[in-house]
């Protein structure tokens, strides 16, 4: 069991129903693609370690939310403790792209007083023939909201690693620069345990000593 990691980041994955959130996460955490899957109820959990620099591992705890509207009142409650998120839309489904704006608003209003780093993901990029959203317009939208944009495919395992690692690295940089701080009572970023605390004892303890009571 690998237990040594520098930080744990909690990520939330949101987006319309059937855009492929659970499939993307399963590809990332379990390395496989399920042809058929049941709609997510409420929220499910996954985790994986990511090595962003040699010897520097981050544990990702991923909250996979239900996209269906009827679960919205429940999933809203889960935003607050996330430091980052993947906002998915389906490139073959224009409507899911148009809803990106609503998802962002929804997230921003429920994550207060914390902030959350999003990555925009255009999913199902293996279905090029059915594409309804061009890469250019998606990039433009992402830039407008200060997000990065990645196109992925869980089925063909395209850019899945890249999407998660890129988001993780962005958050890591923000943590290292002090823009994101570890806070008591907030689960977004947790410091891990590093033996022989050579390289990072300072960064690890810096945030956690503060008291926000």
């Amino acid at each position: 069991m690998e237990t040594i990691w520098l930080y744990q980041f909690r990520l939330i994955v949101i987006g319309d129903s059937t855009v492929g959130k659970s499939c993307l996460i399963r590809r990332f955490t379990e390395g496989r693609f399920a042809q058929v899957s049941d709609p997510t109820v409420g929220v499910d959990f996954f985790s994986r370690l990511v090595e962003i620099e040699p010897g520097k591992r981050i544990k990702l705890q991923i909250w996979d939310t239900a996209g269906q509207e009827r679960f919205r009142s429940i999933t809203r409650a889960y935003y607050r403790n996330s430091v980052g998120g993947l906002l998915l839309f389906d490139i073959t489904n224009r409507r899911s792209f148009q809803n990106v704006h609503n998802w962002l608003e929804e997230a921003q209003s429920h994550v207060q007083p914390h902030s959350i780093v999003f990555l925009l993901v255009g999913h199902k990029c293996d279905l090029e023939a059915q594409r309804q959203v061009t890469q250019q317009e998606a990039e433009k939208l992402a830039a407008a909201y200060g997000m990065r944009y990645v196109e992925t495919s869980a089925r063909d395992a395209i850019n899945v690693e890249k999407a998660f690692v890129e988001l993780t690295r962005t958050i890591f940089d923000l943590v290292r620069s002090g823009d994101i701080k570890i806070q008591d009572g907030w689960e977004g970023v947790k410091s891990g345990f590093v033996p022989n605390t050579v390289h990072s004892s300072e960064e690890v303890t810096k945030g956690s000593r503060q008291c926000f009571c």
């Binding site: 069991m1 237990t3 040594i4 049941d38 109820v41 409420g42 929220v43 959990f45 996954f46 985790s47 705890q61 909250w63 009827r70 679960f71 009142s73 429940i74 409650a77 889960y78 607050r80 403790n81 008591d184 009572g185 689960e187 891990g192 345990f193 590093v194 033996p195 022989n196 303890t205 956690s208 000593r209 008291c211 009571c213």
Partner: protein, 493 residues
């Protein structure tokens, strides 16, 4: 790091726990056992992780073990020795927990750790072998045992003084304590919470570990973090050391922590919604609603775990459990989560069968048992199964909560308490099976190797049962808000 810890910890970060313990116990430091807790916490934890490294505390305990009457002695002696330890355990709980409400959660984890050295080590083998003995000769043994218990508990009674209600509970259930270690731990734990609640009215409302400052998931998370730290240290210092099974880490691996946290979020939200609804009402409507909510609350406090049934039932492969679960869950659309739970249970049962199978043959195969299955293997399998089953149970409660909230269907609290009983029974049953397995596999091991392992299984099983019961309590505000919303809808129509 929890809120409660942040406020209490003033020293170096590495020892927030002992800091907490000492600050918590100073207000009523008159009890002689109190200073013991603070100093004992750290070494005790170590002792559990690595049974091979002996701390001074444990060495002391081991010598006590040797002073214990030999196994062959009459039952009355054994039970009396056992009672003395139970007594001191109860006392420790009280002196720690009454200090402040905020530290109850932590007090309890310390108690659990503490129990391992102070009461567990002398008796677990005796307990588990006795379970088997008793099952065989239940009839004639019981009268003896009852008499012995009478003696033992009255001695404890005088020692514990103020704890009269706890002692009377202990007296009544004496036999159960001897026949099943886990039931006793759990039962006494539960009753102790009641005793605490009686002495502390503020606590009564938030029965269990559910107070605002130390949530259950925080308690568990801290346990997990300590284990992780320790494993990290072990990995770096001595790679050859055997990795001991860590309940907290495994529980997290099965996403138990996440489900628990999500359940807590939903519970807290519902609770505040209920409160805000109550503030908008007045007059008859308020009285009426309060009555209805009290009715829901009552069904949550009535739950009793009847451990008598556990001994009777033999669920070899987990099918009985599956049947009971699906029975309890009828009408709630959580079948896929329930399936996971049944699978976990079946796999645990299969492991037990695999490990005990050679034993069914003749005496010669005793050798095989020893060679093929080590006590460490059995212990690891037991801890893993308990952690997984508990995580899946919490997941089930979380999913049930989500279904209740979004479907707004009428769910009876009775159904959920029935479910809790089934789950706790299963935990109890599994722990018994695993410890008999351990006893069989470790028949040639020395007591100081085997006993901590058996104690560990019983304690984690006891923890598991409390986690499940506490998670059950988290469902209460969810049923309340669901009830409010349903009645609001019906009046609108």
């Amino acid at each position: 790091m929890s809120d409660s810890e942040a406020t209490a910890a003033e020293g170096p970060e590495v020892a927030p726990n002992s800091q907490d313990a000492s600050s918590a116990s100073t207000p009523d430091g008159s009890t002689p056992t109190t200073p013991d807790i603070a100093t004992d916490v750290a070494p005790t934890r170590k002792a559990r992780r690595r049974p091979d490294t002996k701390t001074s505390a444990e060495a002391e305990q081991t010598s006590k073990v040797e002073q214990q009457p030999p196994k062959t002695s009459s039952e009355s002696t054994v039970s009396q020795g056992g009672w003395g330890y139970w007594g001191s355990w109860g006392k420790t709980i009280l002196s720690t927990a009454t200090a402040t409400v905020a530290t109850v959660g932590q007090g309890l984890t310390q108690v659990i750790e503490k129990a391992e050295t102070s009461l567990g080590i002398p008796s677990p083998t005796e307990l588990s072998t006795q379970v088997e003995d008793e099952q065989q000769q239940q009839g004639d043994a019981s009268s003896d045992t009852d008499a012995a218990v009478g003696d033992g508990s009255s001695a404890v009674g005088s020692a514990m003084g103020m704890l009269s209600s706890l002692t009377s509970v202990v007296q009544n259930t004496g036999k159960t304590v001897i026949t099943g270690g886990l039931d006793a731990l759990e039962f006494i734990g539960k009753k102790t919470m009641d005793v605490i609640a009686e002495g502390d009215p503020g606590f009564k409302k938030t029965k269990g570990l559910m107070n605002r400052n130390a949530t259950l998931s925080q308690v568990l998370r801290e346990a997990k973090e300590r284990e992780e730290q320790q494993t990290a240290e072990e990995e770096s210092s001595d790679s050859e050391k055997k990795v001991v099974a860590h309940y907290g880490m495994l529980f997290d691996e099965f996403q138990g922590l996440s489900h628990l946290e999500a359940l807590e979020i939903l519970s807290r939200e519902s609770e505040s919604k209920v409160k805000s609804v109550l503030t908008t009402l007045s007059g008859d409507k308020l009285v009426e609603l309060r009555e209805e909510l009290d009715h829901i609350k009552d069904s949550f406090s009535l739950m009793e775990f009847d451990d008598e049934d556990v001994d009777e039932k033999k669920d070899e492969d987990g099918t009985e459990f599956e049947r009971e679960i699906s029975e309890a869950l009828e009408g709630l659309s959580v079948s896929s989560t329930a399936d996971k739970l049944s699978k976990t249970c079946k796999s645990a049962c299969r492991q037990i069968t695999d490990m005990t199978h050679p034993e069914n043959e003749e005496e010669e195969s005793e050798e095989d048992v020893k060679k093929t299955v080590s006590v460490e293997d059995v212990h690891a399998a037991a801890i893993r199964s308990l952690a997984e089953l508990t995580a899946r149970s919490i997941e089930l409660f979380h999913k049930v909560a989500e279904m209740i909230l979004f479907s707004n269907s009428s769910t009876e609290a009775g159904v959920l308490s029935q479910l809790t009983v089934v789950l706790c029974k299963e935990i109890s049953l599994l722990s018994k099976k695993f410890t008999s397995c351990l006893t069989a596999a470790g028949s040639n091991e020395k007591g100081d190797v085997l006993n901590p392992l058996i104690t560990g299984v019983f304690l984690e099983a006891s923890n598991s049962a409390s986690y499940i019961q506490d998670a059950f309590q988290l469902l209460m505000p969810i049923l309340e808000i669901s009830h409010i919303q349903r009645s609001a809808e019906s009046t609108e129509q």
